[in-house]
Every structure is written in structure tokens, then in C-alpha cells.
């Protein structure tokens, strides 16, 4: 079993995020025209009245032609262009985007193409560009690591955390392990006193917000 989360698992998690849909049905025999699920009560579903539901439900309804998924506000060309510009202009900070922005946009690009109309390609391109800029910032940040550190990564998204996780954790683990030689001599049988003393601590702000 993989000790790490896969991008597909992150996509599964992202399906709990909320989107707006316009249903074309109602549920007259169900209380409040709503569906009582384990995770909450979803609805009320009334024709042409927008309602917020988790993405998994939106996609399921959409597949049955029971609803239209609406384009999220943060996922239109203007908002994304703004985010991209900001992202480029601030080297030390990550813009605040939905934690699952990559997963949500990937799902919607497949299952809610119509929501984007003629902007679909442009929106896709902008999301790709934002991701690229952010990942190159992450990589620039990785470059300056020099030893054991605690690193602040505010506003980094789920997929971005996940992609740097193995390398970043591995490198920090290794820096920490090696630094443990620097200031301690081996304590023989007394392992318990050997905790933590070691590294010269440094704080590294990859990005602060």
C-alpha cells in the first residue's frame, strides 16, 4: 500500500467541496424536496432554483440530466487572470485559492464543460498557468533549503502539497538526521536524552501570507 495520498484520492476528497447547480426537478414526496444523506441534507431541489451541493452529487445529477452545474465565481477568466497576475507579482506569497482548486477544476472541465461556454479553453489555460507559476515558486523555495528547518507554506493547495511532499519531507528528514551528528556525541545507551537537541534551528519562510 502506498504510504502517500494519490492525486486520485485528493480528487475523491475534492468531490466534497460545494458547487452551485440549477436543478430541473423537484422531490414532491420528500420532505422539503430535499435528500437526507449521511453527510447532510441536500436541497431543496426545485426547478430553476439554484442550490448548493457537493460536487459528487452535482456530477451524479448532471450525468442523469437532472441539473446544470454553474461556473464557480473563482473559476472564471477575470478572477483567474487576477489570480495569475497576483501570483506572478508576489514572489514570496501564494494567492489564496480553494484548497482543491486543481481537483475541482479538473472535475468540472470534464463534467461541466457547458458551464464555461466559449471560455472553456481560456479557463483551462489560466488554471494551468497558475499551477505552473505556483509550482515554480515552490521549486525556487526548495532551492534555498540548507539545513533542518520548519517551513511555512500558507495557501499551498492540496495537490501542490502532495507533489512536493515526498521530496520535501525526505530532504528535511535527511537534513535533520545529519544535523543530529553536529552537536551531539552519541549518548550510548541513553537514547532518550538524545531527542531534538541537535539542529541549529532555522526558520524558513517559503511563503507567508
Amino acid at each position: 500500500m502506498d504510504p502517500l495520498l494519490s492525486p486520485y484520492e485528493l480528487e475523491f476528497f475534492a468531490e466534497d467541496e460545494i458547487v452551485k447547480i440549477v436543478p430541473n426537478f423537484s422531490l414532491p414526496t420528500f420532505s422539503h424536496s430535499a435528500i437526507k444523506c449521511i453527510g447532510g441534507v441536500f436541497g431543496p431541489f426545485k426547478p430553476n432554483i439554484p442550490v448548493e451541493v457537493p460536487i459528487w452529487l452535482a456530477v451524479a445529477l448532471q450525468k442523469r440530466n437532472n441539473c446544470r452545474i454553474l461556473q464557480p465565481e473563482w473559476l472564471n477568466t477575470e478572477a483567474l487572470q487576477d489570480a495569475l497576475d497576483q501570483e506572478k507579482n508576489t514572489a514570496a506569497v501564494f494567492q489564496r485559492l480553494p484548497f482543491h482548486y486543481l481537483e475541482i477544476s479538473k472535475i468540472l472541465f470534464v463534467h461541466a464543460k457547458e458551464a464555461f461556454g466559449t471560455d472553456l479553453l481560456k479557463v483551462k489555460e489560466l488554471v494551468g498557468d497558475i499551477c505552473k507559476v505556483r509550482l515554480s515558486k515552490v521549486n525556487a523555495g526548495l532551492q534555498v533549503l540548507q539545513g533542518p528547518m520548519t517551513v511555512k507554506l500558507n495557501n499551498l493547495s492540496a495537490a501542490e502539497c502532495n507533489v512536493i511532499r515526498p521530496f520535501f519531507q525526505g530532504a528535511l528528514d535527511r537534513f535533520h538526521l545529519l544535523a543530529s551528528m553536529e552537536t551531539t556525541t552519541y549518548p550510548g545507551n541513553d537514547d532518550f536524552e538524545n531527542e531534538d537537541l541537535n539542529a541549529q534551528p532555522q526558520r524558513h519562510m517559503l511563503a507567508t501570507a
Partner: protein, 220 residues
């Protein structure tokens, strides 16, 4: 039964959804996946969620699906049930995987044993006995007596030095859930880090171990 329903409908969907046991289960799974050690078994949460799954399965079975409305709602319930079960399985499987990896260290430590469910503890013991018998057969039975222990390298070892213990110095990604202020990263207090709500850190597991337990932080 309608009153809580109405109040739930009046609050934003995110809020309704954010409090559900399913979301708690998801967080428990992510914490479990990311933590180097086996965390405390979430017995109450598991019991509640398993109950809800059973009840929902009954509801599905008892709902008429001959009309379009019933069949739509049943399909949605089924879909959510599949998601809930997937999550439960992923959580339990992740724990078994970690348990197998660290079985000797877990069984060696009563504190760690207390993190297991009764079924997991039984599983750990069975697993240790089965793998132990195999190792004895294949290896240690052929070694001199002073080297044939499964937990001590030799009879001059001062403690159990053949354990496979989790590395608590491993780094993890954490998100801060509540303002916590400064915490010490080492016993001397030479290295201090400020934990404010929504901060995201890559940090050694050991200093945030208790904070994770007390829900000041979650793993990402």
C-alpha cells in the same frame, strides 16, 4: 423529525456538510495516512458512522424505486454509501498497514496498544505470532540460543532492540486549526514557532504530536 431538518436547510450547505461524521472520518483518514505512528482508534466516530451506514442501507432497501423520484434518490443514497464505505475501508486498511509495519513496537508498548481497537489488537497479536513462527522456523531456530530471540538481537542486548518503530522525527504537513501561539520545537526552547489559524507548516512530527491529539492542528 422536521425541526432539525429545517434548521439544517437554513444554514449554508458548507456548514451542514462541514460538521458531518463523514467529514470527520475524512480528516481522521488523512491524519492517519500522514502520521508516522498509529494514531488513536476513532472508536466513537467509527461506531456512529457505521450506524449511519446501516440505517441508510435500510432506508434504501425500504424506499420504493418504481417511480422516477424514488429511483433518483435511491441512486444518490447508494452513491453516498459507496463513498462512505470507501472511506471507512481506506481508514481501516491504512491502520492495518501501519500496524503490520510496526507490530513489534506497538505490542511492546502498552501506550501504543491502547491506540488499537479490540479487533486490531487481536489482529496484531495473530500477525506477530504467525510472522514470528515463520521467522523462528526459517532463521532463529538455526541460531545459537543467545541469538534466537525475536525482540533482542542477543542476550546481552539491554532492551528490545529488534523493533520496527515509527520515526517520530519525520516531517509532516500540518494545518493549524485554532490560534495556538508559540510552541517550542526543542526542549530547550531555543526554537520557537508561532502557530496561527490556517497556517500551513512542514514540521517535525514530535513537537506537534500532542497538538494533533488535542485537535489544535490537523495533518494535510
Amino acid at each position: 423529525m422536521d425541526d432539525p431538518l429545517i434548521s439544517q436547510l437554513l444554514s449554508p450547505a458548507e456548514h451542514v456538510y462541514g460538521e458531518s461524521d463523514l467529514v470527520l472520518m475524512k480528516k481522521a483518514y488523512i491524519n492517519e495516512k500522514a502520521a508516522p505512528e498509529l494514531l488513536e482508534y476513532q472508536s466513537d466516530l467509527l461506531a456512529r458512522l457505521q450506524d449511519q451506514v446501516h440505517n441508510q442501507e435500510d432506508t434504501v432497501a425500504n424506499t420504493d424505486s418504481s417511480d422516477a423520484e424514488g429511483s433518483l434518490v435511491r441512486a444518490i443514497w447508494r452513491l453516498e454509501l459507496a463513498r462512505a464505505k470507501h472511506l471507512l475501508r481506506a481508514y481501516l486498511r491504512t491502520r492495518l498497514h501501519k500496524l503490520e509495519r510496526h507490530v513489534t513496537a506497538v505490542l511492546d508498548d502498552p501506550g501504543m496498544q491502547a491506540h488499537l481497537s479490540p479487533l486490531e489488537l487481536q489482529y496484531a497479536k495473530d500477525y506477530f505470532i504467525k510472522t514470528g513462527l515463520h521467522l523462528k522456523d526459517a532463521v532463529t531456530a538455526h541460531l545459537p540460543e543467545e541469538f534466537n530471540s525475536l525482540v533482542r538481537q542477543s542476550n546481552v542486548s539491554e532492551g528490545h532492540d529488534m523493533l520496527s518503530a515509527p520515526d517520530l522525527d519525520a516531517h509532516v504537513f500540518v494545518r493549524v486549526l485554532e490560534d495556538r501561539g508559540a510552541i517550542n520545537l526543542d526542549p530547550e526552547g531555543d526554537d520557537v514557532v508561532e502557530l496561527n489559524k490556517d497556517d500551513l507548516y512542514v514540521i517535525r512530527y514530535q513537537p506537534i504530536r500532542e497538538l494533533l491529539k488535542d485537535k489544535w492542528v490537523e495533518l494535510v
